[in-house]
């Protein structure tokens, strides 16, 4: 049997996803041993897991280093990797929002300045509204951009809204809901079709059970 390579996003989401894979019969005891190792293999269940930065999962899968992986919808929308998006795992739910100061008034006379980590998503969103914008690409602490007058609004991920609130910002518009997706490499999907299809079905059943018990 060929090994199934699975890229897991490091962090809390990754732990939850791993539990799902384990429930779907793809356990790998070595992964719970701790330490700094990043790659774990289990011959018995035919899987090789590796922990990667969440925003890199799609790259590993697109380039075939991983057959499947779990990535946020935000990353998939932003980078449009050429992969199959097989399943919405319903984990890591949040939303991509436009946020601004509480007293923000949109003046369509002016070019809107938008600070974001997700320039592609922001551009597409405002293009749909036929709106000219000035994108300010930042890599972190997006929330302070409107406060310092760097931008008029921000486009960012909002989970609970606490960070926004603490910085006197408020969500103005939801661009898209976000959750974790099971993705697959297109060639890998063909060559390991049975394994991937079976695993997808098991994961889907787990998702549905999860929804029922909520």
């Amino acid at each position: 049997m060929q090994m199934l390579n699975i890229a897991l996003p490091k962090g809390r989401l990754g732990e939850k996803v791993l539990t799902m894979f384990e429930k779907a019969g793809r356990s790998c005891p070595a992964i719970h041993e701790g330490g700094r190792k990043l790659i774990f293999e289990c011959e018995g269940t035919g899987v090789r897991y590796f922990w990667v930065k969440p925003s890199d999962v799609a790259i590993y899968v697109e380039r075939g280093a991983a057959d499947i992986g779990v990535a946020g919808k935000d990353i998939l929308e932003e980078y449009s990797p050429d992969v199959y998006e097989l399943l919405d795992l319903g984990l890591g739910k949040c939303r991509m929002c436009v946020a601004g100061k509480k007293d923000f008034l949109d003046d369509r006379e002016k070019t809107l300045r938008v600070a974001t980590k997700f320039p592609h998503i922001a551009r597409a969103h405002y293009a749909r509204q036929s709106r000219q914008i000035d994108i300010i690409k930042l890599n972190g602490s997006i929330e302070i951009a409107p406060i310092l007058g760097l931008s008029d609004v921000i486009v960012d991920i909002v989970e609970t809204g606490t960070t926004l609130l603490e910085n006197d910002l408020t969500p103005l518009e939801t661009i898209l809901p976000i959750s974790a997706r099971l993705i697959a490499n297109k060639a890998g999907f063909l060559f390991k079709n049975q394994e991937i299809t079976a695993l997808t079905q098991q994961m889907e059943a787990l998702c549905e059970n999860g929804r029922d018990t909520k």
Partner: protein, 373 residues
Amino acid sequence: MKNGEKDIFRSAAEAQQGLCELYRRCGYRHYKMSKFEEYDFYAKNKNFLVSGNVITFTDPDGRLMALKPDITLSIVKNARWQPGGAEKVYYTESVYRPEKDGGEFREITQTGLECVGDLSLYDTAEVLLLAVQSLEKISRDAILSLSHLGFLEGLLDEMKPDEPLRRQILRAVSQKNMPALRALCGKSGLAAADGDRLITLTGLCGSFPETEKELRVLNRNEKTDEAYRTLCAVYEALAAVGAAERLRIDFSLLNDMRYYNGIVFRGYINGIPQGVLAGGSYDRLLAEMGKPSANAIGFALYLDLLERLFPGETEDESVLLSADRDVPIGKVLKEAQTLREQGLRVRVQAVDDGSAAARKLRLTKEGMADADA
């Protein structure tokens, strides 16, 4: 007949040569083209190109020229055939373009073939067979995924989505994104049964016999029926020559429907994450280029992608021969020649500079000896 190890290419250069020979023996003529053409030609057909970005320069007459970003357009433009006949050509050329829009320019080596004219189903089957044979010469672990755009179009015709929704649906199909498809099909008054059919079609992945029953159920109208019958016919034709086991029916495979119609396919090699072969029939491009009622089908192989598949150069058979200055150079040439005749790769240097070699020899007036002896 299964491929033996010796029938498989060992390097990209060998692949290039072997593929051309394969196409030549099927009666395809070599198509050689200039590295550049007038930019205007590509600008007119910009949408057909992978990327609208083209490298341009001005020639001494002030005409804007372009380094060719594509081969197919040029072949179609120059194709001539007699009624009932076809122009069948193969090529191996470099194209210059970014891998995707906004990316950096790259020189990409393509080998492929095009068949343009009054085509029949035989020509489709022949091109598919050549695609399968090309892949089999690269690896024994190869798959040709096959789709017919008419089937998808037929089902979409039943649903009549507006243009933006249609685009979203096609994107979800290409990603096999069932949750998104379910959501999109549930939207804007599309009939549930139509949506279910589209979802079933997208989910199909298997050999033709495995998927044939489902396809028969999904067959709804004239378009889907034509697609179904074409798929049946090419499957049977390929099965007759033992080439059908490489085929996988997969409707998530989409080419631009403004140009492509009918059969589309992509070839995969186990171990290479992207498709190495891409092709399909593109009658609509011919119509756009003023050649309606003619047909065309072809494919290209991206030889650059095979780089990592072939073992790199090794030093197994290499010899470093260092010769003393007082040895007559004629003798050095002769000794080196003798070694080469034994099948070795021999590099001659005055001194051993420490570079890698499987064996190091030293030639002095007394004769040849191992260098470390």
